[in-house]
């Protein structure tokens, strides 16, 4: 994608996201609008950049949508991209639903939005492998959440489904879908961090103490510079993911992005002082969303542990991406 086209898409997607953000959750169907804009074609032509742009803009505008479901469904090879996904409960295990010996499917997971979707894809442990089952939305019951980030629209769901009431998705590779989801989430975390840094930078340029802008103080400058460094690192790692190493690359990317976004949130709160600690000021909503997205599909802490374990097993560290390539001859 050339720079001009990218800018055009960024404008369009950013405009959509900002509008939805301003209207508030639930007012518009982001996924439907994306489809109208030709999203499906774009993802075929530009699978990487389209996701990067969409999720960065979604993060920056703090929009909650089911776009992630769309990406994961596509990676699962589902023709019907409107299927909802029952994401594993955040925690030490990779999947939290399972198919029991008697064939019943026990579901524990998170949905994005109350999920208008009629059908839900459920990754489930079956023996030593992970399968993806499709169940109807009605088979799930909702568990109340205490609302850490209500606006994120997560719903906790459970259910037990008899074998005859679900079907297994042929040839679905949950690991590949997870990788796609992690990349999307990493981009969204980058969008969140980027927005927080911009806002905080704007704030410290404006506000004065001791007769000068806060932004002239090194303590303030250095915290924001560190936050920005983390942001650049997250972007670079996303760019370094190579097609033949997407599983590992996506895992590292989400870990780096999650860590960077959480650190950025802390730095930005610190430099905005008491204002940053209030409900009215938007920063905390970004802080919440950062934690919520970090929790999905592997928190940075869980992922770094996985990386470390892999390293211990291999006896050496994997190199992320190969050496840079020069300009095409």
């Amino acid at each position: 994608m050339d720079a001009e086209t990218r800018e055009m898409y960024r404008k369009t997607l950013g405009g959509l996201m900002r509008r939805v953000g301003a209207e508030g959750a639930g007012e518009s169907d982001v996924v439907a609008e994306l489809r109208e804009l030709g999203w499906d074609e774009l993802t075929v032509e530009e699978p990487t950049e389209s996701v990067a742009l969409l999720f960065e803009e979604q993060g920056a505008a703090l929009v909650a949508s089911r776009a992630l479901d769309m990406v994961v469904a596509a990676a699962l090879g589902l023709d019907d991209r409107s299927v909802g996904i029952a994401y594993p409960e955040p925690g030490p295990t990779n999947v939290t639903s399972a198919i029991n010996d008697d064939g019943r499917l026990t579901i524990a997971g998170l949905l994005l939005g109350a999920s208008e979707a009629a059908e839900i894809a459920v990754p489930a442990q079956a023996g030593t492998g992970v399968v993806v089952a499709i169940v109807s939305r009605g088979a799930l019951s909702v568990v109340e959440m205490e609302g850490f980030d209500d606006a994120a629209g997560f719903t906790r769901v459970t259910g037990v489904v008899e074998a005859r009431h679900y079907r297994l998705l042929d040839g679905a590779a949950w690991a590949v879908a997870v990788a796609a989801g992690r990349r999307a989430l990493a981009h969204e975390l980058v969008g969140l961090a980027s927005h927080m840094i911009d806002r905080a930078a704007g704030y410290v340029i404006e506000r004065e103490q001791f007769g000068r802008p806060l932004g002239t103080f090194q303590a303030v400058q250095h915290r924001l510079a560190d936050a920005y460094t983390g942001l650049v690192a997250a972007r670079s790692v996303l760019a370094a993911i190579e097609p033949d190493d997407v599983l590992f690359g996506s895992l590292v990317a989400k870990a780096v992005a999650g860590r960077a976004a959480i650190r950025a949130a802390h730095s930005c709160t610190q430099v905005t002082g008491a204002i940053g600690c209030t409900w009215e000021y938007e920063l905390h909503r970004y802080l919440r969303r950062t934690h919520a997205l970090d929790a999905l599909l592997g928190s940075w802490r869980a992922l770094r542990k996985a990386i470390g374990q892999q390293m211990a097993e291999d006896g050496h560290a994997a190199r992320l991406g190969s050496a840079p390539e020069g300009p095409a001859a």
Partner: protein, 366 residues
């Protein structure tokens, strides 16, 4: 030197732990109990036990106990999550500052109810344009017809919506250099002309407020200490505000629960516990040094940075221990979003580092 508490102090500590546990038993959240645990009944109980104004003279309602005794009691109460907010500001710093700077009449009038746990004080220092740069505050106190008239606005005033009194810092001489034109006043919150608007904090609760003073008339004797002498008085008051055990213990209760469930076979978790426990003991000693009056002026900056940054580290540890699911709802996530405030309230870490550099290390002022 024997670091073990004498028997009677240890007994007092155990008693306070017991009282604290009982008071906190019904609370689901026991963090920040000196900020968010507002309970007037419990405050009166504390007064009856003689656990408020512990070190103050008997004739003002105090109990003439040692600073160490006060230390063990407050440490135990905060660690259990007992609701201290209703009396904390008065007990921690207003009582001592009145004892040091107040007139005999002020002391006689305001300290006994404080020690009885009957009144709540708030602290009116920060303003929208005077946060770190407190000396730039603009709220005016003008002497008129034998009274003080207050015009201006305070912000982030914790407890203002429920407080009986506000300890106000206002400008009395606009022509003097900023530090030399400020004075301190006792404000009765029921005085006409005061409007209080609670501000919701990052967790959704509202302990701090915006307070507008619109022609509020204070009697002449509302002035505390020297006219235009606030800055010197404040320096001492801030030592109480910054160097105490509250800056170390805010989320101790949560930490103890997390420590109990942490996977100690994981060396990262084990080392983090070791680091936190080590730091905890070090900071505790720093607080004790403050408490027994052996800390040099300005040392409270060190104590507060160490304590509050440890509290933030604890929030991270708790998040790591509880796992990502805990970030989606409940007590852990609340604690994690509150944690950024530790290094802002009571003076930001950057400002305190400036204090350390300039006052303790003698680095040149910027």
């Amino acid at each position: 030197m024997d670091f073990a508490w004498p028997d009677e102090i240890e007994a007092l500590r155990c008693e306070a732990l017991e009282v604290g546990r009982a008071a906190a038993a019904s609370l689901s959240i026991r963090e920040e109990s000196w900020v968010r645990g507002f309970d007037r009944d419990f405050s009166r109980q504390l007064g009856e036990r003689g656990w408020l104004g512990m070190t103050w003279p008997r004739e003002v309602g105090g109990h003439e106990r040692t600073a160490l005794e006060r230390f063990v009691v407050t440490e135990a109460l905060i660690s259990t999550g007992a609701p201290l907010a209703a009396t904390w500001v008065g007990d921690r710093q207003i009582g001592p500052t009145l004892l040091a700077n107040g007139s005999p009449e002020q002391i006689a009038r305001y300290l006994p109810p404080m020690a009885a746990g009957e009144v709540t004080w708030s602290l009116g220092m920060s303003e929208p344009d005077a946060g770190s740069d407190l000396a730039s505050l603009r709220t005016r106190a003008v002497e008129r017809d034998g009274a003080w008239v207050i015009e201006g606005q305070k912000v982030w005033t914790s407890f203002a919506a429920v407080a009986d009194h506000c300890y106000l810092v206002a400008r009395t001489d606009p022509d003097a250099p900023p530090h030399a034109g400020m004075s301190e006043f006792i404000v009765h919150m029921d005085a006409p002309g005061i409007t209080v608007a609670p501000i919701r904090d990052i967790t959704g609760e509202s302990h701090f407020c915006e307070v507008v003073f619109d022609g509020v008339v204070l009697p002449r004797d509302a002035l505390v200490g020297k006219e235009n002498g606030s800055w010197q008085q404040l320096m001492r008051q801030l030592e109480h505000e910054r160097g105490g055990i509250d800056r170390l213990m805010s989320n101790r209760a949560l930490y103890e629960d997390a420590r109990a469930t942490a996977d100690r076979s994981n060396p990262t978790a084990a080392q983090e516990i070791a680091a936190i426990e080590t730091m905890y003991r070090i900071v505790r000693l720093a607080v004790i040094r403050e408490v027994i009056g052996q800390a040099p002026p300005g040392f409270s900056a060190v104590t507060k940075i160490l304590g509050t940054e440890l509290e933030q580290r604890i929030a991270q540890f708790v998040a790591a221990t509880a796992g990502p699911a805990a970030m989606l709802d409940g007590r852990v996530s609340r604690a994690v979003v509150y944690a950024p405030a530790y290094t802002i309230q009571g003076g930001t870490s950057a400002i305190l580092r400036n204090v350390i550099g300039e006052r303790l290390l003698g680095l040149p002022r910027r």
